[in-house]
Point group: C3
Chain length 109, copies 3
Amino acid sequence: MKLVVAVIQDKDSGKLLEALVEHNFKATKLASTGGFLKSGNTTVLVGVEDDKTQQVVSIIKKVCKAREKTVTTMSPIGGAVESYVPYPVEVVIGGATIFVLDVAQFEKA
Amino acid sequence: MKLVVAVIQDKDSGKLLEALVEHNFKATKLASTGGFLKSGNTTVLVGVEDDKTQQVVSIIKKVCKAREKTVTTMSPIGGAVESYVPYPVEVVIGGATIFVLDVAQFEKA
Amino acid sequence: MKLVVAVIQDKDSGKLLEALVEHNFKATKLASTGGFLKSGNTTVLVGVEDDKTQQVVSIIKKVCKAREKTVTTMSPIGGAVESYVPYPVEVVIGGATIFVLDVAQFEKA
Ligand code: NI
Ligand code: NI
Ligand code: NI
């Protein structure tokens, strides 16, 4: 038995839980407040049999993969606040940090 | 030293923390938001000396044991919304998923 | 790789996250509700290379060390509610419980 601890972006958590359920894995979502460091992050716990660990890791990597997204932002031109123009920027969203822990004992009640 | 990670139902958390304290164990309750999967769940962390691990596991199993409860629900008769009647149903409440982890190093400050 | 799980006081969490960031460690802050047991506590997760584990433990111990603080409280004199007087008391604040866990597998996405 393994316990997978994954720190992911809030916005990926719904899709991740859905994907895990579809493959019959049970996940628990912890509320991360994150402070200034990790605001917008969520920690997900998944208990899994050893031989299915890679499947869980793959699902997390696939759903939460860091990727570029074009967002439209506003920028002042020539420092004049009246002349903001919208322009596209590439930002990185998503990403996951995944810790797989050995479980010494597993029980259900 | 072991770290016990228990996912239990919110409604059992007060009673569990009380039972752990009575037996001199220190527990930390994490807020689980749970998403659609595990709404109403709470994650509890308990640090414990190796030889007392079974005692902690037993307390969790005893307090949080899945059990049936009769709840009164309403059901429409013949599809007519005016004719709902109360009737009793058995539902399963409680339950716990318990992961015991080895602690490589333990420190207090 | 190690996963450091530290239960600390809420009021020390900002300073701890700042100190960890300064030393290039990444931390995730979980919301602990704590129940009656541990109200005002926060759980912090830090993933760290084995050879830097002691540095993370030292930072946590230094920032979150239990220490005395003088607070001014009010006490009734002779049981009469009209005669409360302020007086100083030493209270212990801070403190940390630190669990270091071995990480069987570590992945980033
Ligand atoms: Ni699939
Ligand atoms: Ni007892
Ligand atoms: Ni330093």
